[in-house]
Symmetry: C2
Subunit: 143 residues, 2 copies
Amino acid sequence: MPAKKQFNGSADEAEAAFYAALARADLDALMALWADDEEIVCIHPGAPRLIGHAAIRTSFETIFERGSVQIHPTQLHATHTMATAVHSVIEQVTKTSDAMPEVHILATNVYLKTPHGWRITMHHASVAAGKAPLDLFKASVLH
Amino acid sequence: MPAKKQFNGSADEAEAAFYAALARADLDALMALWADDEEIVCIHPGAPRLIGHAAIRTSFETIFERGSVQIHPTQLHATHTMATAVHSVIEQVTKTSDAMPEVHILATNVYLKTPHGWRITMHHASVAAGKAPLDLFKASVLH
């Protein structure tokens, strides 16, 4: 039986549901958040581009074999139109070792307004050198 | 005198103008392609996120001090709505040495429809391991 798809009334809700599904390693809930479109794109840090539900599902299945992923999106900068929301966040990943290199993860998340609520059409995450900088524009937590 | 801003009737035109401006190292033309919005975001491969016109302009000024940048965007996958276009491309960079590591560059480019034509609101480029894969979905040139 397919997973019941969550209805997200805003891009912010879809984004919260995305990181919550990662934190629970809930593959069905995670995949139900993506737009019903084979042009959806997912780029994991340092990895080649994945296109379409099957490839993206397989990648998260592989990730979840090692456990859940605790990511806290911070320092949101967003551009919204009626039907699209473009979010840029710094992904604060729970540190598992003091030996981790000094890098941070940047993600671009794009959401589309569909008849079934806001859905993900693009997730592009990549590694940036250095510690996460302080957001000079918005130093406090958003939303 | 500010640069005359190009009117782009489509996101594809804006994208072509972006890579053409890089190839000419034309800073004014390049910056005129971005939306008049301080929330614009630019991420160069491996580098921290830049927000707003001043920071983005400075970064390209520094890049152009070493010369122009010859990039050919390939394997476009796009999602369009009335007012937004989300482009995922593989950036084919002119090889300057056989010693270059086996990587490729992925870019997410987001365009907004504005009263002045289509403008860039986000450029997120990052390095992916391995040679650029063949596009199994669309092996031929798009457009």
